[in-house]
């Protein structure tokens, strides 16, 4: 546990000592801010109330963009620079190592999401914002982000090049968001439609947006995160049996 905390702290240190975290957070605020202003403008032009849900949806898109940036270096960099060797020859379990990486990424995600609460505060001055539903939406964002970040971490554990890890992570993230929307345009998906709806993160997220915490969705997202983190641990461990 102590080593887990020490590793998480160092990992956060890397984000916040280097300009990386600030660049990511700034980019997120600039992009989401632009989107926010344009949706506000569009809504007032049409004389409609601004819906906070569309803002949260946009924030999810931005979270997808951050996924490769936040996760690609996590393990790939250690592998490339050889620091994996000094960490994994210290008395630290592979699981603690992987969990610390994930925890640090999730702290960054939490930080990022907190920064966007400001938009809802502004909206609440012009229209009704259901605080409960909004909190639910944020829980959804956090969990969907968790799925994406855990996948990013897993890909990073497979690669020794950060760029490769980043590109693959980005592709997978986009696919998971567009599964129900894009695939049926190209192939006949009538057979796997329920399956696609099950794995599609946008579909998963839309329930949270309605202010409903559906138990199956919750279990699904949490188990995906756990399973992917387990796989990552196995990959890190594989150096011992390969």
């Amino acid at each position: 546990m102590k080593s887990f905390l020490a590793l998480t702290r160092r990992e956060l240190g890397v984000y916040f000592v280097s300009p990386m975290a600030y660049i990511i957070l700034t980019a997120v605020l600039v992009i989401s801010g632009l989107v926010f202003v344009s949706t506000m403008r569009a809504a007032t032009a049409n004389q409609e109330p601004v819906d906070y849900r569309s803002t949260l949806q946009w924030i999810m898109m931005v979270v997808i963009l951050t996924t490769p940036l936040v996760t690609m270096r996590l393990i790939a960099e250690e592998r490339k620079q050889g620091t994996l060797e000094i960490i994994l020859t210290a008395p630290i379990s592979d699981a603690a190592f992987v969990l610390a990486k994930f925890a640090a990424a999730m702290v960054l995600l939490g930080y990022l999401l907190i920064l966007t609460v400001g938009y809802l505060v502004i909206i609440s001055r012009y229209g009704p914002v259901d605080a409960g539903a909004a909190a639910c939406g944020y829980l959804g964002l956090f969990l969907v982000g968790g799925v994406l970040y855990s996948i990013g971490l897993f890909i990073s554990s497979l690669c020794s090049s950060q760029i490769t890890a980043g590109v693959i992570t980005f592709c997978i993230s986009v696919m998971l968001i567009m599964a129900t929307y894009a695939l049926p345009q190209v192939v006949d998906t009538s057979l796997i439609r329920p399956f696609l709806a099950y794995i599609d993160l946008t579909v998963n997220f839309s329930d949270f947006l309605k202010g409903v915490v559906d138990r199956t969705r919750l279990v699904y997202l949490v188990s995906v995160i756990s399973f992917v983190l387990f796989l990552t641990t196995r990959v890190v461990d594989s150096r011992r049996w390969r």
Partner: protein
């Protein structure tokens, strides 16, 4: 302290370590010697639980590297060949982080880090960012990390690689100092290095143990069948003829300076020519000034031991 038996590690198509067995006792400083690709680093990575052996076993401080990996890791300090460090951190900050990973009690950490910095003479650089340090100083940070938790066993992979002669001497002194409190296994391909620090040398070639012993023992073992060097004053040609008559002499090389002659005499396998040569000289009335085996340096012993077998397909 270190017990390795029948250790084998194979990668697809390559046998990096081949049925390796050796023991290192408590407080010993043992040098691990071999050309590049001999399996030194692989063995060290197995001993430090970074990778697992294909077969065979290794025990450190009584704990098995596979079964009791955490116990082994607690008792071993390791400097990998790459000496990879988190270069964005400051020296002291890095060591404090490592102290936390090593589960050193919070109250003790600062004192322990200070003491270790003193030991590797980095106290004045403790606020420097590791990326800004020279290679030699970084190497010291790596060594500090390896001894921070006062491990029973210290494993150093090529600790002097890429350093300038002064830094090499510094690191050598440091390792010598470690021998007092720790069991040290360190690898190198610089022989003079090993000769100066180690009580014992293990020579590795193609994943196998080619020789083990003190530097002198190894050289001696090789010299058993070696050539005899003898210096005799007198008529060179006559002496050469007399030497060649001695039973067991295969070949004689002769060089002279004035009336002082030096002969290198090659015996047939396993024959000690020295007494017979002296008798021959006494019989001829010549004075022997010097007699001995031609001295083989560790360097030469090493190249003989690790040379690819003649005629073997490469």
């Amino acid at each position: 302290m270190i017990e390795v038996s029948n250790l084998t590690k194979t990668y697809p198509g390559v046998t990096a370590v081949d049925d390796l067995s050796f023991k290192v006792g408590k407080g010993e400083i043992v040098g691990f010697l071999g050309p590049n690709g001999a399996g030194k680093s692989t063995t060290m990575r197995i001993l430090t639980c970074f990778i697992a052996p294909t077969s065979g076993s290794a025990k450190l401080a009584g704990f098995d590297v596979l079964e009791q990996s955490m116990e082994v890791r607690r008792r071993v300090g390791y400097l990998p060949e790459s000496n990879a460090l988190y270069t964005e951190m400051r020296v002291e900050e890095y060591l404090l982080f490592r102290a936390r990973l090593r589960d050193i009690a919070p109250k003790e950490r600062a004192a322990r880090v200070g003491e270790t910095l003193e030991k590797v003479r980095l106290t004045d650089r403790r606020r420097s960012i590791i990326a800004h340090l020279s290679k030699g100083l970084r190497q010291r940070v790596g060594i500090a990390d390896a001894i921070l938790h006062r491990p029973e066993i210290v494993i150093l992979d090529e600790p002097t690689i890429g350093l300038d002669p002064t830094q090499v001497r510094d690191v050598r002194e440091l390792i010598k100092g470690l021998g007092e409190a720790h069991t040290v296994l360190f690898s190198s391909h610089i022989l003079s290095e090993v000769e100066k620090i180690c009580g014992r040398v293990l020579i590795l070639s193609k994943g196998r143990l080619a020789a083990s012993g003190t530097p002198e023992e190894i050289a001696n073992k090789l010299m058993k069948t070696g050539n005899v060097r003898i210096e005799i004053r007198g008529d060179g040609r006559a002496i050469k003829a007399a030497i060649e008559k001695v039973a067991g002499v295969v070949r004689t090389l002769w060089s002279s300076k004035g009336d002082m002659n030096t002969y290198i005499v090659e015996p047939s396998n396993g024959v000690d020519l020295r007494p017979a040569l002296v008798r021959a000289c006494t019989a001829g009335g010549w004075d022997v000034y010097e007699l001995g085996y031609e001295r083989l340096s560790l360097e030469e012993a090493f190249s003989i031991l690790t040379a690819p077998e003649k005629g073997a397909a490469s």
